[in-house]
Amino acid sequence: MTMAITDSQVATLRAHLAGNFDEYQRLWADLARPGAKGGYPTLIAAAFFEAADRRFTKGGGTDTDVIAFVGSARSRFDEKGDEIDPHAAEVLIRAVLGDVTETDLDDDTVITTQLTLLTALVLDEQFSGEQLDKFMAEARKLADEWTD
């Protein structure tokens, strides 16, 4: 049985997205306890879905925008140029837009790519603290729906 998303998981991802890295490290260490991490990948996936949907569906994005965004995100976060697969990144965004229904990406690639793209998407939104809380609440709600 998949467990519901926990406050601790939400707080951990929020700290990461807010750039509170000391807080993130502390909370992440806490998630290392057996059973604590559970739905964390689902929360990341849900938050990524919400953020990408906000940017590219509701915001009106084209394939050109997707390519440009992935380039921007990688130029900011992929220091060695080989950490984020650009094809995987574009496919994951296109999956949110409904252009792709199946991928052959392994779980690790999906999670690490989603987290990087999510970080870039949230940074671009320049959320206030309150807006970030609201965003995390929406992501949690979606993640809970997926784990039901």
Partner: protein, 145 residues
């Protein structure tokens, strides 16, 4: 074998976006020759274009951004460029040792695409295009042995 005037003319037509002339001259090369050395000329032109575009102190982020920009503006299902291959080719042209096996076709497609885009960005007139190819030619001769 040094690159020939005919090979330079064929590449020049391609880079000047004169497809009919490009096709005619390439066909002639294939029929009459010489073909050997043309690949080296294309590669030398690519390296020259890259070195003209990037300044010392370039970063991997610059490379990533350039490839993304070029792919985004030429979005076409028929022009599928392997992003990572394109980035690796650029970094190698700039002198970096980068691991990664690139298939011949993947490499050729990325190289031709980037070369065409880079030259288009320079908005060269006839004299400028001649100068560019004259700059590439010595490297091509060196590569062709």
């Amino acid at each position: 074998m040094a690159v020939s005037d005919e090979q330079v003319a064929a590449l020049r037509a391609f880079l000047a976006f004169d497809p009919d002339e490009g096709v005619r001259l390439t066909k002639r090369l294939v029929e009459v020759g010489p073909v050997g050395g043309y690949g080296e000329l294309v590669y030398a032109a690519f390296v020259t274009a890259i070195r003209r575009r990037f300044h010392p102190g370039w970063t991997i982020a610059d490379v990533i951004r350039l490839v993304a920009t070029m792919r985004a503006r030429r979005l076409d299902p028929g022009i599928e460029i392997d992003t990572r291959a394109a980035e690796i080719l650029i970094r190698r042209a700039l002198g970096e040792t980068v691991a990664g096996e690139l298939g011949d076709e993947t490499e050729a497609r990325a190289q031709i695409f980037l070369l065409a885009e880079l030259v288009a960005d320079e908005e060269l007139d006839d004299a400028g295009l001649d100068e560019f190819l004259a700059q590439a030619r010595p490297l091509a001769n060196q590569l062709a042995g």
